[in-house]
Homo-oligomer: 214 residues x 2
């Protein structure tokens, strides 16, 4: 296996190739052309076509899905969700990106989960209902009073729609937040932590745990 310095990781999502190269994040839209890397790219992907494109155009790629050992009764769970849940004993794992996935781990076992739209997707949805609902989120909206204007009404609704289902399922259990909006959302919860780059940390964990990966 290559040393830490040459490790190139890639999380292929629905809109971007998200690379971590020597600790530096680089994002490319799926339709963009990628630089050609000499080093091996260790990737996970929820997008078959984008993964094929990567495999075709790069020197050497390793799909980490083959090395992942994750049991669940859940049908159709994305590899990215599995990776962030990896090794968690007892917690709710919330990965807040374009979708917000919420997964429940009990005694190292995955018990199921659900999928909320991400904050930016909520904003887009309102915009499409009516131009009169085209607002940015007011991140300081008071969630303890009834809104008295459209921007607050939308901001309150988005945050309540995300926060309340997570609160209901978590009860008093620990919550691990990750993903682009994870840090922001974590401030609405008590018993929680925010983990930066959890997906990449766990991808490295898979690589380190598998001697088979050259």
């Amino acid at each position: 296996m290559n040393g830490e310095l040459e490790l190139i990781l890639c999380d292929i999502g629905n809109t971007t190739y998200h690379f971590l190269i020597d600790g530096i994040h680089k994002k490319y839209l799926l339709q963009e052309s990628l630089p050609k890397f000499k080093e091996t790219i260790f990737y996970i992907s929820v997008n078959d076509n984008a993964a094929k494109k990567l495999e075709k155009n790069q020197e050497k790629c390793v799909d980490l899905e083959e090395f992942l050992d994750f049991e669940t009764k859940y049908k159709g769970m994305g590899i990215d969700r599995k990776v962030v849940c990896l090794g968690v004993e007892n917690a709710i794992i919330v990965d807040a990106g374009s979708a917000i996935t919420v997964d429940i781990m009990e005694n190292f076992k995955h018990k199921g989960g659900f999928i909320l739209p991400g904050i930016s997707r909520f904003i887009n949805t309102y915009k499409k209902i009516s131009v009169k609902l085209d607002y940015e989120i007011n991140t300081k909206v008071n969630l303890d009073t009834i809104p008295l204007c459209t921007q607050d009404a939308i901001s309150y609704s988005i945050l309540k729609s995300i926060i309340l289902p997570i609160k209901e399922i978590s009860k008093d259990r620990k919550i691990i937040f990750t993903g682009g909006d994870g840090e922001f959302l974590s401030k609405y919860f008590d018993n929680c932590i925010y983990k930066d780059d959890l997906i990449f940390k766990n991808m490295k964990g898979i690589i380190n745990a598998n001697n088979r990966i050259a």
Copy 2:
């Protein structure tokens, strides 16, 4: 004023002209051409351009907004929301259409409200995040267990995102549901009623209460 039989009512929304003509519903997309009515059209509108088009092409139109007496500190409240709240003493009013408006009336006074995306808009949002999230809602999803497949995860999330904010605000107060998805949503609540065509009933109420309307 014309007799009950000739009354033509129109609720102009973000996607349709919704008519009630002698008790019969007729919907036309905003871009469609409308039949020419000889009778007066009594309308409310949240869409200025669509209202102008109606005024231009029809014999006689009366905008009921001028006859509406509704006080609120809420800035930017749509006329349709005001009309469904009209005359309510103490209740939460939920109008579930392309948006789901939730308004609080206390002692005949409007105290504020919020706006959730409608069920069909949630479905569209998931579809746009990923083709893997393109599902119809499972209206029979069990909301007491953690989902174990994508369709249930989406259905659970949509319903929880709508139900929990309404439950939180309503506490034990009465809820009045109306709108296309109002009857379906009402089954998740105890202290509630569903009122069909509340908007048109209240429009008739405005007409009957105003002798000025010819």
